[in-house]
């Protein structure tokens, strides 16, 4: 058995050239007409990339160190005059450690919708699929292996409070009744094809009951509570 060579160098160069030119054409076209809708995600007011080396100040005596922050977005809908339409059935993994993974681009013409809504997490159908690649690949670290189910949101890091340091691991998940952690969000749109959603982690950490422990790694009533709190920290930023 002879394996096909993975990279024939001449072929590879040709492919690269084609790829670059296609990207250029795509970029030019994008500038001409805005037939796509973009949703940007940020956290702690316009932070788009997670910096694991520096800390974020939450309050005068609290500092936040984030090591992981990712979550799923699905079931994106745009509403106009009371009619809602699902514009995207894809499931997106927003991951602030990857520069390309904090924006959702939908190839849809924008027709002046008034609200945008989406789910934070994956519904029970998505949780019952067989093996998948892409955002649902278990290598993304968003799948529980001991019990079937996706982690809808993962927030990991540590909190420096005065002189003490406390680690936290919030793995928010669970898709079946009564511990479904899927949360729906809805925001008004300023009639533009681009929106930015900011997740206010200051609000999250100031509201969460840290005395109950800052470790959450399984579905249950606590996960439902944390998922509700997490979804309340999503806010739209008007341009």
């Amino acid at each position: 058995m002879i394996l096909k060579p993975l990279h024939n160098s001449r072929f590879f160069a040709l492919k690269m050239l084609l790829f670059i030119s296609l990207t250029l054409i795509q970029q030019t076209l994008k500038g001409l007409n805005a037939d796509s809708i973009k949703v940007h995600f940020s956290f702690l007011n316009s932070q788009h990339i997670l910096n694991t080396d520096s800390s974020y100040t939450l309050s005068s005596n609290k500092k936040l160190l984030l090591s992981k922050f990712k979550f799923y977005v699905s079931n994106i809908q745009l509403d106009q005059e009371g009619h809602s339409s699902t514009v995207d059935r894809a499931i997106y993994l927003i991951d602030f450690s990857k520069p390309e993974a904090n924006v959702i681009t939908m190839n849809k013409e924008f027709s002046g919708s008034e609200t945008i809504s989406f789910d934070i997490g994956i519904d029970s159908i998505g949780n019952s699929y067989g093996a998948k690649s892409g955002s649902l690949d278990p290598v993304n670290g968003m799948y529980w292996t001991w019990q079937s189910g996706f982690i809808n949101a993962k927030i990991e890091g540590s909190m420096a409070h005065d002189s003490s340091l406390q680690n936290f691991q919030y793995h928010i998940g669970g898709y079946s009744y009564p511990n479904n952690t899927l949360q729906h969000c809805q925001f008004p749109l300023a009639k533009t094809a681009e929106a930015t959603i900011n997740i206010d982690l200051i609000e999250f950490f100031n509201t969460i009951d840290a005395s109950a422990g800052m470790q959450l790694m399984s579905p249950g009533p606590k996960a439902v509570q944390v998922s509700k709190l997490f979804s309340k920290c999503f806010h739209i930023q008007q341009p």
Binding site: Y129, G130, A131, V139, S148
Partner: protein, 343 residues
Amino acid sequence: MLSYSTAIKTATVLLIGTWLLSMQKHQTALSIPKQWPEPIYNFKDNPIDPLKIAIGRQLFYDPILSANNSISCESCHSPFTAFAHTDHPLSHGIGDSIGNRNAPAIMNLAWQKSFMWDGAINHLDKLPLAPISHPSEMGSNIETVLVKLNQSHKYRTLFYEAYGDSLINSERLLKSMSQFLLTLVSDNSKYDQVKNDKAVFTDQEARGYQLFKSNCSSCHQEPLFTNSQFENNGLAVSKSLNDLGRYQISQRSEDSFKFKVPTLRNIEYTSPYMHDGRMTSLTEVLKHYTSGIHYSSTLSPNLKNGIVLSSTEKTDIITFLLTLSDPQFIFNPSYQYPKSSSK
């Protein structure tokens, strides 16, 4: 010199051979045994392909899935005991660690809604992730396994042949494993032959079958010999394990101490019995159901009134249960360690 008729014969044989081969190629789902329900597994998402089955089989027997290359699936699921782990009440894993449940037999998985004693796994494709990652089983993770497999010329070749691409990703890996597991169908026991008018029960087996139908079949429903539900079958709670069963997954108090009703097919080979392997013989099991039931709030309604059986009746039931043995399943060479296909 070849005669004209020999040439025609040869041509016919070749044609039929090609046709048979192409038939085989186009079979994309399992054939469903007569009188069985439709499979739950969606073959459209993962059409059966002999090359993918072969990969799954290689992986099933390969300790590469474990952290230190010491434990394979077969370590706890031997083909010669219907893929259960004889003599071991609780599963044995990496570094001599011991799990907290009895490794279940593997068969007829296409008809199973959920997997594991507590139904923790909701899709066959996702099942291998659990033992791969469990610290007391294989102690590895899917990322590491993929790195190791992608470094293996043997596996890259096999995946290239099956998927037209030598890259091994989790989707291809898990789907290939499902394909092999789905082929493990046990449908040729004496019971099946009787149902298909190819054999007859002895008088004792026939008596046992009637007793089985009136005492056991509400949970162990034919033809799969399970109703796929979770039940508390009245076992006293083990103090060392304190296993809450289905509750651990559903978090609902009404699910406390419930475990998945296992199939009784090939039960002759799958001792020890129960989720923690506490019973070694079928005699012990029947004694439990007639005089050992531990009453609690979640006890199966089917057991609340107690099962009454004389010792002769118990022997008759056991005689019937032995008709669920399927030696063809146990000794099927295509389920065994893939000696010839290793490259």
